[in-house]
């Protein structure tokens, strides 16, 4: 298509070589500086607390009472403050996020309102009245961290590299995941299972949400809606909306021969139903309306009801003012027309196309929740007003006294901390909206912030929504998705993706009409189907028609580049539907591109130099029209070149850097473009389990579980992404010298052989932190928990073993070693915590019972620190941080950055390790069988580049679609006297003779994964049993037995090992001696049958306890199981 910015080119211009823009990747750090990786969360939250919340207030500003028409409450303004904490009554103090984490509090700010209301006959204005508390997103505009320098961050115990974008609720870091949804207010034409085409629109406004379907049955069109008990012929709908003439209906839908032919049966049906006027149509519809519950109010007739329904519920988003249905008629006609046109040619829309998707962010979700709570708050006030005003009181009714803060506060806190978003208004009940921010490593936290979860059911076996859509290019990471049931449903944003927020559409409407868009209400309707007329949509609503759509689009884009329109407004043409779509709604994915004019990129080397010198920032590039944002729909309308040398005369845009199509996690992989694609996906999952560093404030945190590496290193082979996201500053892994060879046989199935001397020197050494908590509560009867000092041994006057590590105050002291079952806090609790009944005996000295916090764990820990504080309920809070240092052992899991995981199979002393001419021994020996089937060529190149980097004393790049070239790297190796293939002559450490093969030898970045043998090993000979069945308990945490399952049982049955079966299933499990009466067949008791009242036929036998239990349970429901006994030799 004719693209913009393309004038006539002189031959010289066309022939001039395309000069490449050096270092245009530098735009990326500039972009990330302004937008950042989690900017979408923060932007959306900022929009909510600064703009949207005011709109919500405006929409619900007035509360009136039925009891007193004079009484009202009006909200004038609403503000969200900065986070603080109530120190004592009415004394507040600003709070830092870290304090909230440590003290298990919520990082929240007061929501205050200015109100005007009446008290008696007085009108009162009150300002800054708190109505609740809003959890504040870290690094949002109201967070204490915004605009602080790294030094100030350090003072607040906060990591400057932490991305923010999450909430702290009850001391837990919670992320509201990005939710993917089908676009609202858009017509989607789809074929159902039978192949009949239909259209559907999910319309949504602030008040209502409804779904309208257009269906075809036997060539006739019907409208389907869940407020209507049956499908209504479309012609009747038209008539009900005031278009009574058939000609007019047909004119709106289209006067082409085949369109008219397709619509004729529908008109005929209407004729048959004898409906000609609006009245008749409304009556018809009125009879089909599903009755809704009425809450008082004036009774409406059926006709009125139908009219109301058509105006407000069906296609809600098309506004109807004073029952002028014109716009809605045209919208319905367009829907019908779409279906007719789609019928023969199979031009149905693609549901999975990413332009049809919108992403819901924290701000939008919270605004839904807040509006719900605010409405509930207001209705509560109204209810109170209705109740209280009629009663005559001495004091006049003052609504302020009834404004309780906790409803909104608790509503917000509970929703975020449980992740259950249930809104009655929209019949929304979603679970798992929030997740605990995973702090396993810096990458896992970052990866969580870019995660998108979609609404599809995980269990459904559909491939469409799960597969990679071409329209996701550059917006979503193609590699980063989990394996298994959520595969393809959970996605991750790419590096440069931005998500838009809502925008005012008033100026856009005005601008569009200035650019020649004609209002459809002024036209007869037939214009819609003229071949050269294009329909213009704004956010799904019909704005009007235009004759010269090309000009409209071009001018629009020029205006946007000049900064007259917001940079996130997108405009695109759809030639097949003959439409121009303008979008300014929130939740669209977009990403920046360099504009190409006359086959030259607008960004030149000069600009980049200025950027490097700091004269320019990313915003300047936007404002000067050098770079612009394109959303998925507009991208489809452009011709984007990947590199400068692929620019041709149709090119409109140039990619900034191709590696940005990957996300954060995939960005860590060196040379990912050389790997088999699933390997990159595996690494994306494993990078999140790698331990290392989690932030500069890691040592100040008291997390439930934290893994750190003793000596983390930055990778020898890095990528641009690694630099951009500061992985180098918070790394998770170590550079290990790897020899790719077979050794000892303990390296089969991806097992690794580790060098003992490397482990001695600190390779893979990690620290595991766990915490223990304890609160000291006060009870209603004036008693409280106490911490007692250590108990002394009577003979030696020394603390007993269990209390050995306690200080005099009864709390363990830092630096001590704790063993299993030792006491950390010697807490005592009063035996009576209820308020004594009035008139009962005088409260005596309270009795206490010991409820110590003990340490449980197979291995000893050290106390790192003890924190004594108070929580939000003013109870004492004692938190202890326990530490373990672990050295790698056999069975610990390691992985390189290429999805090549393996457990340690053997630890070999250094002298047994092979060594090369320079005397270097490997840290890790890896079996070469890991390569042929995995095809992780990237790992091979990483090794080469790493080796060359070590020899030269520099880092090499393994950036996707770029990075250091293998050829250059190999030249470096030769220069240093190494083989260009990276294969060294190696001598066996055991025999002292050379190895017959040359060994691929060099450094590879290895991650230690969180799965460690120490946390998993488990065995038992005997141990606890479940109470009910007397069978061994289940699971490692309960010291459970190892189950001999059904399939194992089948094997033994097949083999015929009956005595083994008996032993495994009964004797070692729940054998039980029962007395059975041979006469009645029932269970007896200590040699006596209670049924027969005799003991002469009672014999004793051994059955599983579960069996005995079954008999008794059967008896309890009136079924008698009788045992027939016989001698085994009879």
């Amino acid at each position: 298509m004719e693209a913009l910015g393309l004038g006539a080119l002189t031959p010289e211009q066309a022939a001039a070589p395309v000069n490449t823009v050096e270092e245009k990747w530098r735009l990326l750090p500039a972009f990330l500086k302004v937008k950042g990786l989690v900017k979408q969360h923060i932007d959306s939250f900022n929009y909510f607390i600064n703009v949207e919340i005011k709109k919500i207030m405006k929409a619900n500003e007035k509360v009136t009472s039925d009891a007193d028409p004079m009484w009202y409450l009006k909200y004038l303004n609403i503000y969200v403050g900065t986070p603080d904490v109530e120190e004592s009554f009415n004394v507040t103090r600003p709070v830092s996020p870290h304090e909230c984490r440590l003290r298990d509090m919520t990082y929240s700010a007061p929501i205050t309102v200015d109100i005007e209301y009446t008290r008696g006959s007085q009108r009162i204005i009150r300002n800054a009245l708190p109505i609740g508390r809003m959890p504040i997103m870290l690094r949002s505009s109201n967070c204490v961290l915004t605009g602080k320098t790294p030094a100030e961050f350090a003072k607040l115990n906060e990591c400057p590299l932490d991305p923010g974008g999450y909430f702290i609720v009850k001391g837990v870091e919670k992320v509201i995941l990005i939710q993917e949804q089908l676009s609202k207010n858009r017509i989607i034409v789809e074929a159902d299972r039978k192949g009949t085409v239909g259209a559907s629109v999910t319309s949504s406004t602030h008040e209502k949400k409804s779904r309208t379907n257009m269906v075809v049955k036997q060539g006739r069109f019907y409208l389907r809606h869940n407020t209507l008990s049956e499908d209504i012929p479309i012609a009747i709908i038209f008539k009900a909306m005031g278009v009574e003439s058939d000609q007019e209906i047909v004119q709106m839908i289209g006067t082409e021969e085949h369109v008219m032919a397709a619509f004729a049966p529908s008109l005929e049906e209407c004729q048959k139903a004898q409906i000609f006027t609006q009245m008749q149509a409304l009556k018809y519809i009125g009879n089909k309306v599903r009755r809704q519950r009425m809450w008082g109010g004036p009774k409406k007739t059926k006709m009125e009801e139908a009219r109301e329904l058509l105006a407000s519920t069906i296609l809600t988003h098309v506004l109807v003012k004073e029952f002028n249905f014109r716009a809605k008629c045209i919208y319905t006609a367009v829907m019908v027309r779409r279906v007719i046109l789609a019928q023969g040619e199979n031009k149905v829309d693609d549901r999975d196309y990413y332009g049809n998707k919108r992403l819901e962010l924290a701000g939008q979700l919270l605004s839904l929740l807040f509006e719900d709570l605010f409405k509930k708050f207001n209705s509560e006030l109204k209810k109170i007003a209705d109740q209280v005003i009629p009663k005559q009181r001495a004091a006049q009714f003052d609504v302020v006294k009834h404004m309780r803060q906790d409803q909104i506060t608790n509503g917000m806190v509970n929703a975020i901390s449980t992740g259950n978003w249930s809104l009655k208004r929209f019949k929304m009940d979603r679970q798992g909206v929030t997740q605990v921010l995973s702090r396993l490593s810096y990458i896992s936290a970052l990866g969580m912030m870019t995660r998108i979860s979609s609404q599809f059911e995980k269990t459904r076996k559909v491939s469409g929504p799960r597969s990679l859509q071409p329209s996701q290019w550059g917006m979503l990471c193609p590699s980063d998705t989990p394996e298994g049931e959520a595969c393809g449903l959970v996605k991750n944003l790419a590096l440069m993706t931005h998500i838009t927020t809502d925008m005012e559409d008033g100026p856009i409407i005005k601008l569009a009409s200035n650019l020649g868009v004609e209002d459809v209400n002024l036209l007869c309707g037939e214009e819609l189907s003229y071949p050269n007329v294009f329909l213009v949509f704004l956010n799904g609503n019909i704005l009007g028609v235009i004759r010269d759509h090309q000009k409209l689009v071009n001018t629009f884009r020029i205006l946007r580049r000049a900064g007259y329109i917001n940079e996130f407004v997108s405009i695109s043409t759809n030639l097949s539907d003959r439409c121009v779509y303008i979008s300014s709604d929130g939740g669209r994915l977009c990403r920046p591109y360099i504009i190409v004019k006359k086959q030259k990129p607008a960004v030149t080397n000069k600009h980049m130099e200025e950027l490097a010198q700091g004269y320019r920032n990313f915003e300047d590039f936007l404002h000067e029209g050098l770079v612009e944002y394109l959303d998925v729909n507009e991208e489809n309308d452009c011709n984007i070149a990947l590199y400068e040398n692929t620019i041709n005369k149709d090119t409109t845009h140039l990619e900034i850097e191709p590696f940005t199509l990957l996300g954060v996690c995939a960005g860590l992989i060196p040379y990912p473009h050389h790997n088999q694609s699933p390997r990159n996906t595996y690494q994306c999952a494993m990078g999140k389990q790698a331990m290392g560093t989690i932030g500069y404030n890691q040592r100040n945190r008291i997390d439930t579980l934290m893994y750190l590496l003793a000596y983390p290193q930055k990778p020898m082979v890095k990528t641009k992404t690694i630099e951009l996201i500061d992985f180098e500053k918070l790394p998770a892994g170590q550079n290990a010298t790897v020899a790719v060879m077979s050794y000892s046989g303990y390296d089969i199935e991806d097992a690794l052989v580790l060098n003992k001397a490397s482990l001695d020197r600190g390779f893979g050494r990690c620290l595991v932190y766990k915490n223990a908590k304890c609160t000291l509560k006060r009870y209603t009867n004036q008693t409280f928990d106490k911490v007692m000092g250590p108990m002394l041994d009577a003979a030696t006057r020394k603390p007993i073993w269990r209390h050995e590590i306690l200080d005099a105050d009864g709390i363990c002291s830092p630096g001590e070693k704790v063993e299993n079952k030792q006491v950390l806090v010697n807490k005592s609790m009063p035996t009576v915590t209820q308020t004594p009944l009035e008139g009962s005996s005088v409260p005596q000295q309270p009795q206490y019972k010991d409820v110590p916090v003990t340490y449980k764990g197979a291995t000893d820990s050290y106390i790192e620190k003890v924190m004594i504080s108070s929580n939000a309920e003013d109870a004492f809070l004692i938190k202890m941080l326990l530490r373990q240092t672990r050295r790698p052992e056999i069975g610990d899991k390691f992985s390189s950055r290429h999805g090549q995981k393996g457990v340690c199979g053997l630890i070999v002393p250094q002298e047994d390790m092979p060594f090369c001419d320079t005397g270097i021994c490997p840290d890790i020996i890896m079996n070469p069988h890991g390569f042929p089937s995995r095809m992780t060529v990237g790992k091979l190149i990483e090794l080469l580049a790493g080796k060359a980097g070590v020899l030269d004393g520099r880092f090499h790049y393994g950036t996707a679609f770029g990075g250091s070239k293998v050829k250059d790297v190999c030249e470096d190796l030769i220069r240093h006297g190494y083989n260009y293939l990276g294969k060294d002559y190696v001598t066996s450490g055991i025999t002292g003779e050379p190895l017959e093969a040359y060994i691929y030898f060099g450094p590879v970045y290895y991650q230690k994964l969180k799965h460690m043998v120490l946390d998993k090993m488990h065995a038992r000979a005997r141990g606890p049993r479940a109470v009910l069945t007397r069978q061994p308990t289940e699971g490692r945490s309960r010291d459970g037995g190892l189950r001999l399952g059904e399939m194992e049982r089948d094997c033994l049955i097949g083999y015929g090992a009956s005595m083994l079966l008996l032993e495994r299933l009964m004797i070692s499990s729940d054998a039980f001696e029962v007395d059975v009466c041979g006469q009645c067949g029932l269970l007896g008791y200590s040699g006596w049958c209670h049924y027969c009242k005799s003991s002469c036929h009672v014999s004793s036998l051994r059955i599983p306890y579960a069996c005995k239990l079954l008999f008794q349970e059967l008896q309890s429901m009136n079924i008698i199981p009788r045992l027939k006994l016989a001698k085994y030799n009879e």
């Binding site: 250094q910 006297g977 040359y998």
Partner: protein, 346 residues
């Protein structure tokens, strides 16, 4: 004669091919090659065996050991790495550690610091002995506290200027004599080999107060007891030109080897390549990438010529380490012989 030469090559040379190494194993067992006298002969061994010291520095030693079997040479290497004892910090008693370095990590770091103390003056500590005596233990103390520098310029942000003692170095470790050690070692100076090993960083108010016990141990137990940074050997390179290489080919050939391996002579106006010093080559095997040259050269290594390189951690001079290693091997042999004798006694 050609067959004889082939056998000689098989016996004496490890040949580096393009895709692998040939003749890696020692094959000169007695009777394996007809016409060769391979039975053990003390005189012949003494004639052929030779040790030349090539380079001797304070902490490094390079010497050639010629005329010996791989097993024996490797035994020296292995003993150097794992069985020559040294003194290293084994027990750390933490009295106070308010630095950010965790106790275990601090102890691990202290353990890896090489301690200048002649292990031959000490005994091994008995198993299960917690206390330690003057004959098996060296005690060190590290007691340091970081303070703010009152004289520091106000606007300064340089920690070196702002604080005292904010970097804990190995030089801060002091020897605390145990028992009669002052009399036993009147002029001993027990301290870490290097003064500038960074142990921890401190900030004002933080302090480290630890007592360390150094004991004698071997590298097999823990790498910290290993007396060498590394000890290894390589075989002497042997590069032969099978045909004369001239002019341009000679120059490319020169580039295929480490500098100084091939020299170019001017003979009758022709540049002729000659192997000058094969010892310098690192075997990048670059020749094999040149189709025209790869059949003109034979890359090999002399099987019984070991170029040893011993890098000491500085506790003992490398030559002492080697002689200690030899003593240990002798001790092992003696023990084995005794064992044999005791077996034959029964």
């Amino acid at each position: 004669m050609a067959a004889r030469r082939g056998t000689d090559e098989m016996r004496d040379r490890v040949v580096l091919g393009e895709f692998g190494v040939r003749n890696v194993h020692t094959t000169d067992f007695p009777g394996n090659y007809p016409g060769y006298e391979d039975a053990w002969d003390q005189r012949r061994f003494e004639e052929a065996f030779r040790v030349d010291v090539i380079r001797e520095e304070e902490d490094a030693l390079e010497f050639d050991m010629v005329g010996i079997d791989a097993a024996i040479a490797n035994a020296f290497r292995r003993i150097l790495l794992a069985e020559v004892p040294t003194m290293a910090v084994e027990k750390v008693f933490v009295y106070n550690n308010t630095s950010i370095v965790q106790d275990e990590i601090l102890a691990h770091r202290l353990g890896l610091i090489p301690i200048r103390a002649d292990p031959r003056l000490f005994e091994y500590r008995n198993q299960g002995d917690q206390e330690g005596t003057e004959i098996d233990t060296l005690q060190f103390q590290l007691k340091i506290k970081c303070k703010r520098n009152p004289q520091a310029a106000k606007e300064s942000s340089d920690p070196d200027e702002l604080y005292f003692n904010h970097k804990v170095y190995s030089k801060h470790m002091t020897w605390v004599p145990l028992g009669n050690q002052t009399d036993l070692f009147p002029d001993a100076d027990f301290r870490p080999v290097h003064d500038d090993i960074l142990i921890a960083l401190l900030r004002p108010g933080q302090e480290i107060d630890v007592l360390m016990h150094c004991v004698k141990g071997i590298g097999k137990d823990h790498a910290k007891f290993s007396p060498v940074a590394t000890a290894s050997y390589r075989l002497l390179p042997d590069i032969t030109l099978l045909q004369p290489v001239e002019d341009e080919a000679a120059e490319t050939l020169q580039k295929c080897f480490s500098p100084g391996v091939i020299e170019i002579q001017n003979i009758n106006g022709k540049k002729v390549a000659r192997v000058a010093n094969a010892r310098l080559d690192t075997f990048s095997r670059e020749v094999f990438r040149h189709e025209g040259l790869k059949n003109l050269v034979r890359l090999a290594r002399v099987r019984n010529h070991y170029i040893f390189s011993v890098e000491s951690t500085g506790i003992l001079p490398p030559d002492v380490l080697v002689s200690e290693a030899i003593k240990i091997l002798m001790g092992k042999c003696q023990r084995f012989l005794n064992e044999l004798d005791s077996v034959s006694m029964e």
